[in-house]
């Protein structure tokens, strides 16, 4: 707690970023509940510019943009956090095994990461989502998981985005593990005859948590960007659900030189930009505060 206070005192920008994130998250999760339900409905007021009644204007179907930006934020944030968690599990496990095993296994595993870096992963994920979405929905129906049927698309998104954003974390975890495995406490554990999985789980993993959690702050924006990328192309979150990406796609589609409907672009873009910037600012600040190399330059 004391160290948290010290951190925020020394990084005013990170404090502001955290404040913005808290406000956006609260608004996205509570806003759609608190606003009158009529805001979610279509109305005859198509493309109304911002006013007191509709602070962010309305869209083609006369829906309130303020409501839509908030509920879109809810989906984007949920997918971002859940996807980042999936990537955290994969990346940590992969990096831990590669780093601890070392030698040839490490070589092969890291070469795979190099190759995956230079393959257009999002393009593969698109093909994957397309391949597995209908299957998952069918599976959910046959098992009677009603809650999953509606959100099968989101579940698939979360899983697949987690599957592509783990590479950098795997590299970082591997590097940390390489440094840790030569420390005396690991040698002691080996000498005591503890098995490799136990050493990895009980001795190395707890020492990685700090790095992994810091990197989580930087993975969330990456996953949010991926999700919005897919939704922007109409291949991610599907109507009636919405996310920042699909709102931007609607806005970009409604752009034309005769009637400039700027509010359809500026509000979702601004909200998303603020979120991404704050997350990156916070993640960078956290990383710098624990990186001895960065401290040296101060």
């Amino acid at each position: 707690m004391a160290s948290a206070i010290r951190f925020f005192k020394s990084k005013p920008l990170a404090t502001v970023a955290t404040g913005i994130l808290v406000v956006i998250a609260l608004a996205s999760f509570l806003g759609p509940w608190l606003l009158p339900p009529s805001y979610a409905m279509t109305s005859p007021e198509s493309f109304a510019p911002p006013s007191w009644r509709h602070p962010f204007g309305t869209d083609l179907l006369g829906r309130d943009m303020f409501y839509r930006v908030l509920s879109g934020g809810q989906i984007s944030l949920i997918v971002g956090m859940a996807g980042a968690l999936v990537s955290l599990v994969i990346g940590t496990a992969y990096g831990l095994v590669a780093g601890y095993m070392g030698g040839r296994i490490d070589n092969v595993m890291m070469r795979i990461v190099d190759v995956l870096y230079s393959v257009p992963r999002l393009i593969f994920i698109l093909v994957c989502i397309n391949a597995f979405y209908a299957r998952l929905q069918g599976l959910a129906e046959s098992l009677g998981f009603d809650w999953l049927v509606g959100s099968a698309r989101i579940a698939i998104l979360v899983l697949s985005l987690g599957v592509i954003e783990w590479l950098t974390l795997a590299r970082i975890v591997r590097g940390q593990t390489l440094a840790l495995k030569n420390r005396a406490f690991v040698t002691a554990a080996v000498a005591l005859g503890q098995t490799t999985p136990v050493i990895m789980w009980r001795h190395i993993l707890p020492n990685l948590i700090g790095v992994v959690l810091i990197y989580l702050t930087l993975t969330i924006p990456a996953v949010i960007i991926d999700e919005s990328f897919l939704s922007f192309l109409g291949l991610g979150v599907q109507s009636p659900q919405t996310s920042w990406g699909s709102l931007l796609a609607d806005g970009a589609g409604a752009l034309n030189p005769l009637r400039i409907r700027w509010w359809l672009i500026v509000f979702p873009a601004g909200m998303m930009a603020l979120t991404l910037l704050s997350l990156n600012l916070l993640g960078d600040a956290l990383r710098d505060s624990t990186d001895p190399k960065a401290l040296k330059h101060k």
Binding site: S118, V119, I123, F124, V127, N130, F132, F229, P257, H297
Partner: protein, 306 residues
């Protein structure tokens, strides 16, 4: 050098083979027939279509015939755009994608290098702080935010540049800049880091002691060493540009391969989808091979037999 190149070539072929196989499987896993439409085709017609495109055999048969065709350089026929082969479609659309991508690559690297060197040279000054803040913004903002905003400002309000279309230098500027901005930022950050490290080394002090002008020291002596991490980032950069160009092509109505990629997913046009993915990956694999060679030319310390 030749042995290194050959080894890389072999591993590149292996990667391509995996790409082909995985793509093929993923496309076949997807449920639904490519001939599903609002109007259901009579079963006999559908059967004939399946036979024509060789979709009625076992999975293994289909895979074998697909591989055989690929080896002969045949990407198959589009299932949606009847009477057009995948190669024809790609031949017409890839040039636009490549021009856009190359322009963006050039802008990203040049812009990133200038910003990164400026920031490193003025470390702890306002120039550094401003450059890094811009870089953070660039990294945080994806193309589908930057694109519509640039269109709004430069296309619709100021009316300086056309908002879409293709075929002249003016129509290339907005899309290429949109695509490049996040990577300008990324290159700048990467270069700033390695430049700061390089500037602390002895040979830079020697160069300064010789009385060379500052920009010669920075761009000729230090940059040559500091650029290496950027060179090794070129591979992932190209992959990201190719992915990003799908969005940019959509925003600016550019007749590139990206639009066909999205449509081929929506239409379950398996051969077209496979063709786009395979060509994209092949381009990247070739590009990475070139980057590896470039890297070894730039850094003589790297031994290629390793």
């Amino acid at each position: 050098m030749i042995a290194f190149f050959l080894r890389r070539l072999v591993s590149a072929m292996a990667v391509l083979f995996c790409v082909v196989t995985i793509t093929f499987l993923l496309i076949r896993i997807a449920p639904g027939s490519p001939f599903d439409a609002e109007r259901k085709l009579p079963p006999a017609v559908e059967k004939q279509l399946m036979a024509k495109y060789n979709l009625d055999g076992s999975l293994w048969d289909q895979y074998r015939s697909y591989l055989g065709k690929l080896l002969r350089g045949d990407l198959g026929d589009s299932l949606k755009y009847r009477n057009r082969t995948v190669a024809e479609i790609l031949g017409q659309t890839l040039p636009a994608t490549m021009i856009l991508g190359s322009a963006a690559l050039l802008i990203a690297v040049t812009g990133g290098v200038v910003i990164g060197v400026t920031a490193a040279a003025g470390q702890h000054t306002w120039r550094d702080a401003v450059a890094m803040l811009i870089a953070l913004a660039g990294i945080s903002l994806p193309t589908f935010i930057i694109g519509p905003i640039l269109v709004l400002i430069f296309g619709l309000w100021l009316k300086w540049l056309p908002v879409g279309g293709w075929g002249s230098l003016a129509t290339l500027i907005l899309p290429a800049v949109t695509l490049a901005i996040p990577y300008i930022a990324y290159v700048a950050r990467l270069l700033r880091g390695s430049m700061i490290e390089t500037l602390g080394q002895d040979f830079v002090r020697t160069a300064r002691a010789k009385g060379l002008r500052e920009y010669v020291v920075l761009y000729k002596h230090a940059l040559r060493v500091a650029i290496l991490p950027v060179v090794s980032y070129l591979g992932p950069l190209a992959a990201n540009l190719l992915t990003g160009s799908i969005v940019v092509e959509t925003i600016f109505n550019i007749p590139g391969a990206g639009g066909f990629f999205v449509n081929s997913i929506l239409n379950r046009d398996g051969f077209l989808l496979g063709g786009v993915v395979i060509i994209y990956c092949a381009l990247l694999v070739i590009f990475n091979l070139l980057v590896d060679c470039l890297y070894s030319v730039l850094d003589r310390r790297i031994r290629l037999d390793g």
